[in-house]
């Protein structure tokens, strides 16, 4: 059987002019546990790439290396013309202001109201805005996710789906150029998961954001991706559109699409 051109993408793709994120030969291990081995990925402006992989395959580690929460052992992560592992904290903070991150667990601050949760990134990134502008930005972000009435609620008073939408609103508030989604539909019922996926698509269309989505939810992969990268054994195992990979005969790829 001839090997598919979609499989075993060990060489980094040549960065295009529109490349917004470029990962080259990324290695990350924890002690003897090698999580990412020579991982490569290219993300162009406007693309919506889903990184698909089994639980424990290193997807969350990858996304945390991209945002600088983890430092890789080797390799380059170029974002906005900076190599993330090499830059100072000050530069990293400036880059983070352009990148939204939706955490798997939502990571809403328990001790703050919804309003304070949304205001937090605005205040911390030293963005010079008046209180009036802050209020209107918070309201706009909440309108976007359809939860303006929860503005003075505490996160503990909200349902799982609502918390996810508030987390998405907090991600949106700085109008990021890239949004990184870490398992956006994990732990949600199918109906709420579909609502979140639709919201992600709506946000992408309205703000022309580029997205990198970590997921193993095939519904999310099908609906939200313009391209799918399959992470297996720390490597980029397959790369193509959803339809291309769905037709792939390789057993390791097939097991996700069956």
């Amino acid at each position: 059987m001839s090997k598919s051109t979609l499989l075993n993408i060990d060489q980094p793709m040549a960065p295009s002019k529109a490349s917004i994120l470029s990962i080259e030969h990324l290695y990350k291990s924890f002690g003897n546990n090698k999580v990412l081995i020579d991982f490569n990925l290219e993300l162009e402006k406007g693309e919506n790439v889903v990184v698909l992989g089994k639980s424990g395959s290193g997807k969350s580690v990858l996304i945390k290396c991209i945002i600088g929460l983890l430092t890789p052992n080797a390799g380059k992560i170029k974002m906005f013309e900076n190599n993330i592992p090499d830059i100072s904290n000050e530069v990293l903070d400036k880059i983070r202001a352009k990148v939204g991150f939706l955490f798997q667990s939502n990571a809403l601050y328990d001790s703050m109201t919804v309003r304070e949760n949304l205001e937090f990134p605005l205040r911390r990134h030293w963005i010079s805005v008046t209180q009036q502008q802050v209020n209107s930005m918070v309201e706009e972000a909440l309108e976007e996710v359809g939860l303006t009435h929860t503005i003075d609620s505490m996160p503990a008073e909200l349902s799982g789906g609502m918390r996810k939408r508030i987390a998405l609103a907090r991600t949106l508030i700085l109008k990021p150029a890239i949004i990184l989604y870490d398992e956006p539909t994990t732990g949600l019922d199918p109906i709420t998961a579909k609502e979140i996926i639709n919201l992600m698509i709506k946000i992408r269309n309205r703000y022309s954001t580029t997205s990198l989505i970590i997921s193993h939810d095939m519904n999310c992969v099908r609906l939200a991706s313009s391209r799918v990268v399959m992470l297996l054994d720390g490597r980029c195992y397959a790369n193509g559109t959803y339809d291309q990979l769905a037709k792939e005969t390789d057993s390791k790829v097939k097991q996700f699409f069956e």
Binding site: K64, I67, L69, N89, D93, R96, A97, V99, F101, F103, Q104, S105, N106, A107, L108, Y109, D110, S111, F120, P121, R124, H125, W126
Partner: protein, 258 residues
């Protein structure tokens, strides 16, 4: 058996080393900008002001019970008139600072350990970092400083409430005026009774803040880990309070303040 002791010793030494490194990190960061003044003031309110009722109640009971318990023995020796002086010295030199510090460790140490532990396992600390905030400065430095600054004030107030409880205790079976009671207390207290007790309270507060924060920051294994962090923050802080007390008495002895 020997292996078990040896592995326990290794764990103890590793933990002590980690706490020392954590403390060094505190000193390397606490005076560098950006200063988290608003959060420090909020923590002073939470850690100091909100601990007042508990500290006040326990200190009052302590003074009252100590006086009632001491009275029969002092009457047997014919020195009942010295009761305010003896109780005053005992409370100000030793019992006040240590008991208030132990109450403080139980309330604040566990609360810091649980709060930071819960923030760690729900990725709130990561979210803070992504929002352009140094979580160590925002969460740890502010809590350690607040604990260090607030405990001596609580000890002073606790001493006063405790002596008030003692005055009530004296008057259960006697008739001593408030003025006479305080005159007897202060006539027998010197600067060298108050100062070492006040200074060691800063060390107690610092230890509770550092150990609570360390336990919370190092929390893992989900909610079970959070409970363990809170519990071990109290246990370790309490032991460290006694060790500091032991060292303080040696220092004051060498300095001729005993």
């Amino acid at each position: 058996m020997v292996t078990s002791y040896s592995s326990s010793l290794k764990i103890f030494l590793r933990e002590a080393g980690d706490i020392a490194r954590f403390t060094r990190r505190f000193f390397s960061q606490w005076f560098r900008p950006r200063y988290e003044i608003a959060e420090l003031l909020r923590q002073c309110f939470v850690i100091g002001y909100q601990s007042l009722p508990l500290v006040g109640l326990t200190a009052f009971i302590l003074g009252l019970v100590l006086t009632i318990q001491l009275r029969p023995s002092m009457e047997d020796y014919g020195v009942a008139a010295q009761l305010p002086a003896i109780v005053g010295i005992a409370i100000i030199r030793e019992i006040g600072p240590v008991i208030v510090a132990l109450i403080f460790a139980g309330k604040i140490g566990s609360s810091i350990g649980a709060e930071l532990g819960s923030m760690k396992v729900t990725e709130q600390i990561d979210a803070m970092e992504v929002s352009g905030t140094n979580p160590f400065k925002y969460l740890v430095v502010t809590r350690v400083l607040a604990a260090t600054l607030m405990l001596p004030i609580l000890v002073l107030l606790g001493d006063c409430v405790s002596l008030y409880g003692s005055w009530i205790g004296v008057n259960i079976r006697g008739n001593t005026s408030f003025y006479l009671f305080w005159t007897q207390v202060f006539n027998n207290i010197t600067f060298s009774d108050v100062l070492p007790a006040f200074i060691k309270s800063y060390f107690f507060g610092f230890a509770v803040g550092v150990i609570g924060s360390y336990k919370g920051f190092k929390s893992n294994k989900g909610t079970e880990g959070v409970g363990r962090s809170a519990n071990s923050a109290v246990v370790v802080s309490s032991v460290v309070i006694f060790i500091i007390d032991l060292l303080a008495v040696q220092v004051t002895d060498v300095l001729g303040l005993n």
